[in-house]
């Protein structure tokens, strides 16, 4: 129990540090950039304004205050779960992001399923047939997969499956069919890293003495592979997942734009284009939160997978 508490504690500290540093940097950048959010709003509203009106708006949004005051106001808001209001939509940022979150999580889940379905078989094939042709297939898949731009992969999939073969809808969401292409794109784009990692880990696990001992007990090859070797090799994959949850959230953005998927990615890209600062800052905060929470879950998963940690022992 003490371990669990200390895990939660250290992750919370990480969250606070991350949020403080990042939000301060973004505030600073906002202050020193030549662009002006008020002008951006006015441009959107497409009205001709006077300097006086501009000043009035500036005051209304608090942009005339010194940066430290603005910053501490924002921080005070966060503590009360208030991320401010969008400059463009005039809606609370938190509501906007929360409205988008389920779609993004759904897509991420779909991508993870595809990722698992691709990377485990290819990683296993590569390790079991090391140096033979299934290994070459697995390695080339990983290499090409790491080189292909994910939005282009999505475009190709749309082109073949939707336009040429007419099998799946192009864009939008709602049905399972809408779900397939974005999930495949995301899964394939993430797979190379996991294939390589699983392959390398599995190769070294298969040479370990406990696998030899299992063979000497006459266990079937498949059984040794699945129950003895694979399970031990999955631990680094889970670590990897914790580390790459951030890049998953980033990578999902492009795919959401490509497939017009109504997730957080679409929101943030709009926010950036319209220079809607509260939305951008809110987004960073939420992503940071998700990253930390995922890593905490990964920490806790270790306890389940590797019983040694529960005993407070060092992991070999």
């Amino acid at each position: 129990m003490r371990i669990v508490l200390s895990m939660i504690g250290s992750r919370l500290i990480q969250l606070v540090v991350m949020v403080l540093v990042l939000s301060f940097v973004t505030f600073l950048l906002m202050k020193i950039t030549p662009g002006d959010p008020i002008r951006a709003i006015l441009k959107v509203d497409d009205v001709i304004t006077t300097t006086a009106e501009e000043e009035k708006l500036r005051e209304e949004y608090g942009f005339d205050q010194p940066i430290l005051i603005q910053y501490s106001r924002w921080l005070l808001g966060i503590v009360q779960f208030d991320l401010g209001e969008s400059l463009i939509a005039n809606k609370p940022v938190l509501d906007m992001i929360m409205g988008r979150l389920p779609a993004s999580i759904a897509l991420a889940t779909g991508g993870l399923v595809v990722l698992f379905l691709i990377s485990v078989p290819l990683g296993v094939l590569g390790a079991v047939y090391e140096g033979r042709w299934p290994d070459y297939i697995s390695r080339w898949f990983a290499l090409v997969g790491a080189s292909i731009p994910r939005f282009w992969l999505g475009l190709l999939l749309i082109y073949f499956f939707s336009l040429k073969l007419n099998l799946l809808p192009v864009m939008g969401n709602g049905t399972l069919a809408h779900f397939i292409l974005p999930s495949i794109t995301l899964g394939v784009a993430m797979a190379p890293l996991y294939i390589r990692l699983l392959r390398e880990r599995l190769i070294s696990t298969l040479q370990s003495s406990y696998i030899e001992a299992a063979k000497a007990r006459g266990l079937r090859k498949e059984r040794i592979l699945i129950f003895h070797a694979l399970r031990g090799s999955l631990v680094p994959l889970i670590t990897m997942f914790g580390l790459s949850i951030g890049s998953l959230l980033g990578g999902i953005t492009v795919i959401e734009i490509l497939f017009s998927w109504p997730g957080m990615g679409e929101l943030i890209v709009q926010g950036v284009m319209q220079r809607d600062y509260p939305v951008i800052q809110g987004y960073i905060l939420i992503v940071g939160f998700l990253v930390v929470i995922t890593n905490l879950i990964v920490d806790l998963l270790y306890l389940v997978i590797n019983p040694q940690i529960k005993q407070g022992k060092e992991v070999v």
Binding site: L29, L143, S147, P149, V254, V287
Partner: protein, 282 residues
């Protein structure tokens, strides 16, 4: 002499390296002499000549504004690859010296600094770039600034880690004890040790940066039209893919080959350095 011969032979015996070199030569050819074959400007609009297929005049056809796709591809190669290399070189120039110094001198400031960095680095490139580009405003220049701002931290951290491991080894201690200057110790002993890892990282990162730039341009936060960056070209021609698929095929293929080239070179160099350092090559 014999030893060097064996090493050289190994560098070219590595299939990744060979493929990577072939691609590099091919891409370098396009960047440096490709322009000679293009009589058109990549920006010249000719509405009377829109969406043409490939012909002896327009090798890759023309786009929705009648611009020569081949000319745009060649210009795009110079731009995309040039920017990728530029961003990484800039990040290296800032990150490596700071990492070397920070690791070599150490102390509390170093430790505090690194903790902050660890917190920030839990964030992926993409989100940080979005944050910075979002604050500075979407443009290709701001995107490059964002990339350099994020990347130098990564290099500083890696180099610092390598230095910390290397610093305790005897030859560095000897150099320190023999009253060599800090600068000389770093330059003579530490830099050569960390270079191989940095070169491998940089090769792979150029590919990553090119992917990032093209993705940003595709979603409209990077290069803006009419700049013929490959990702921006894909964004530009989105509406016409069904009619002229080649508008989609060429830029995407170009990005893929370029990044593949970087990954192959990175892999090849890694196993080359691993063998040379006598590490086990997995």
């Amino acid at each position: 002499m014999e030893v060097t011969v064996i090493k050289k032979a190994r560098l070219l015996h590595n299939p990744s390296m060979v493929f990577g070199m072939i691609l590099t030569i091919f891409l370098a050819g396009i960047i440096f002499v490709g322009g000679a074959f293009v009589p058109y400007s990549p920006f010249e609009i000719n509405m009377g000549n829109r969406l043409q297929g490939a012909s002896s005049v327009h090798w890759f056809g023309t786009d929705q504004l009648g611009r020569d796709v081949f000319a745009r591809m060649v210009y795009g190669a110079q731009l995309t690859i040039g920017l990728g290399v530029f961003a990484i070189v800039m990040a290296l120039c800032i990150g490596v010296p700071i990492g070397l110094l920070s690791g070599y001198i150490g102390g509390k400031i170093d430790a505090f600094f690194m903790r902050m960095i660890d917190g920030v680095l839990a964030f992926p490139d993409f989100i940080l770039a979005i944050a910075i580009a979002g604050m500075l405003g979407p443009s290709l220049t701001n995107l490059i600034i964002a990339i350099v701002l994020v990347r130098w931290i990564v290099y500083a951290r890696v180099v610092r880690g390598l230095v910390l491991a290397e610093k305790e080894k005897e030859y560095v201690l000897v150099s320190k004890v023999s009253y060599s200057s800090t600068f000389k110790t770093i330059r003579m002993h530490l830099l050569p040790q960390v270079m191989p890892d940095i070169i491998v990282m940089a090769a792979i990162d150029i590919g990553k940066v090119i992917l990032l730039i093209s993705a940003f341009s595709y979603i409209g936060l990077g290069a803006q039209p009419p700049i013929p960056e490959w990702g921006a070209m894909l964004n530009d021609g989105r509406a016409y893919f069904q009619v002229v698929p080649s508008l989609m095929i060429y830029p995407g293929l170009a990005i893929m080959l370029t990044v593949l080239c970087c990954n192959l070179l990175g892999d090849g160099l890694k196993s080359y350095f691993d063998i040379r350092k006598g590490r086990d090559y997995l």
